[in-house]
Amino acid sequence: MKAFSLNRRLILAVVASQLLLGAGLVLVGTSFSKHYLRRAFDVFLQGRAESMAALVYYRDDGVPGLLFNNAKIPPSRHRVHKDLFLVQSDRDNLLRYSPGFDPAMLGRIPANARFWRFHYKGAPYRAIILRKVGILDTEEGEPLPLPTLTVVYAAPTMDIDQQVSMLGVTIGLVSLLVLIPTLILAVWSIRRALTPLNDLVAAASTVSVDRWSFEPSQEARSTRELKPLIDAMQTVLSGLEEAFTRQREFLGDAAHELKTSLAILKSTLQRLLNKPREREEYERGLAIMNGDCLRLERLLNRMLQSARAEQRIAKGHEQEPEPVEVAATCEGALARMAQFAAERDVRLEFIPEGEATVRAEAADLELIWLNLLENAVQYSPRGSVVTVKVCAETGMAKVSVLDQGCGIEAAHLPHIFQRFYRADSSRARATGGFGLGLAISKSLVDFYRGRIDIESAPGRGTCVTVELPAEPGARGEGGGSRDRAASISR
């Protein structure tokens, strides 16, 4: 698409409207003036014709008859093209006419018409025809009735046309003259009016992946038309920045985690190769590196799980999942955790206080419980108990995982759901954690529109509670399921 300039368009619009206005003024002005000048001309013609009629008088000095006062013929207005007239009595006893306006012309006058236009000696003329005009200048005792008169008076109309075109030209010129300051004013005010827009463009063009701050000028922000756009842009940009920063942090952390794991593996291998060693030393080294590889594999799996959980939140629900019994998924997770717990001499306890069903993928729920259980078992001392409680509260299914471990300091709690966050990195590595379990759980819980809370104090153990919206009507009746309480341990 061809780019167009808002500035130029606005200026063009101003010029066009100005020209249109000028043309309109010329048109209206000329037609009105033409009309009024014609009217005035006709009045003038009528006056002249009537005065011509008034020059006819009746005299009875021996030979009675009509006379015409030649001396009082009014002068022509035009010096070259003289006025033409013709006065004729109905009884043919008087006929006066100006030179060149002979009675033959009478025949050409359209019958009954009051006005008549014609050309004479190359000039346009307009004539008025007065019929049956009475003689005014009479004396007493004259024989009645007197004849009536037909008066024709014509004058050149060039003056009208000239005046009209003069007026048109004048109006046109004036409009053109006015156009210049209007244009200057328009350019200035359009520039001025577009300043906030230009500011906005300038502010927007400074936004980049490295610099997210979008601060348009105060002028742009106080422009009513731009405010919704600015608000929308700011919302989008801050969202983008957050997502971008989170992604970058995740990438940085993931890279750090992978590189560190790889550095350990590589340095172990190179140390082993550094000098000739005994067979047992090689075997021990290889076993250690095998463990490192397994750990790397677990790390990669965890990172993929985390990425997938985040991606699902971004995509949203494709279709509503089937209702799943929460207690069953907990039992599944507990069964999978049993061996790990037994290795660490931690007892797992399951207390289903109520039944609840939620609409979720069973595998997702199991993954949430597994992550929470893994953390709980990892940070639990030998011989302690990890408890999983399920209960149903008003519209929510509630699952709590409690441990008797070392607890978490309050300063770490706000960050505990961040990916790769570990309250104590050296300890976490020794216990095999990556700092992803809680983050994955939170992503999944968010995905199912639930909430996850953590309560902990150093030395007092940790309790993680997950609440998920329960499927209505499927709530258990409290103690009824207590007989299912089982202690899964070895």
């Binding site: 750090h256 560190t260 790889l262 340095s267 140390r271 550094n274 050296s426």
Partner: protein, 233 residues
């Protein structure tokens, strides 16, 4: 030479320490976090500091800044998993001498450590000469008039330290501090044993006396007739 490794990944720290002990014949101390690292770095004279960037308690950058603020000028090598330009620039500007990104090659790591320690002592060439004596710090070989001497590991370390501080007066205490790690009981007469062993081997091969004893002050690797600043003063 004595090195402090500040690294929270215990396995990595142990690997790095072992390779430095084996391949650079250094005494190595390990600190598991920034706080302890800074304390150890400031309380003992190290010839090289190896510092991880992401450390618990104090970050590598904080340790580095405090270490330099205390007026220590030993070389510092940073280990980092992040290699963004800004971070590298920030590190170098804060007083780091070199950096390596994880995962690194142990061979390169050792070479960089040796170069840093050498330069920390004002020596640019890896081969140091004093009359007929030639100490190759890369091959860890000592020659007298082109004939290779066979030295024990401790004898070599004493000689290498004296060679890197060629001409300077080195006290027995300095030798002890720079050749043994934190856990060692320090006995001065151990040094005398190594020095006499070195003298016997070098003088036996060349007939020239290169290790001088300054009574009550210490030792110096130099030819007879050269005098140190300290003695003159």
């Amino acid at each position: 030479m004595r090195v402090l490794v500040v690294e929270d990944e215990e396995r990595l720290a142990q690997n790095v320490a072992a390779i430095l002990r084996d391949n650079a014949l250094c005494a190595v101390d390990v600190a598991p976090d920034g706080e302890e690292g800074l304390f150890m770095a400031c309380s003992s004279p190290y010839d090289l500091l190896i510092l991880d960037l992401m450390l618990p308690k104090l970050t590598g950058l904080q340790v580095l800044k405090s270490y330099r603020a205390e007026g220590n000028n030993s070389p510092v090598l940073i280990l980092t998993a992040r290699d963004e330009k800004e971070i590298v620039v920030k590190l170098l500007n804060a007083g780091a001498d070199d950096y390596l990104t994880k995962p690194f090659d142990l061979g390169e790591f050792v070479a960089r450590c040796k170069a840093l320690m050498r330069r920390g002592k004002g020596e640019h060439s890896p081969v140091i000469q004093a009359g007929p004596l030639e100490v190759d710090t890369v091959k860890r070989a000592v020659q007298v008039n082109g004939v290779r001497l066979s030295l024990t590991a401790m004898e070599y370390r004493v000689l290498e330290y004296l060679a890197l501080r060629r001409g300077a007066l080195v006290s027995k205490m300095e030798l002890l501090e720079h050749l043994y790690d934190y856990n060692w009981e320090k006995f001065g007469n151990v040094i005398e044993v190594y020095i006499s062993g070195l003298r016997r081997k070098i003088e036996g091969a060349s007939g020239v006396k290169v290790i001088q004893t300054v009574r009550g002050l210490g030792y110096a690797l130099r030819l007879e007739g050269e005098v140190t600043e300290k003695e003159r003063g």
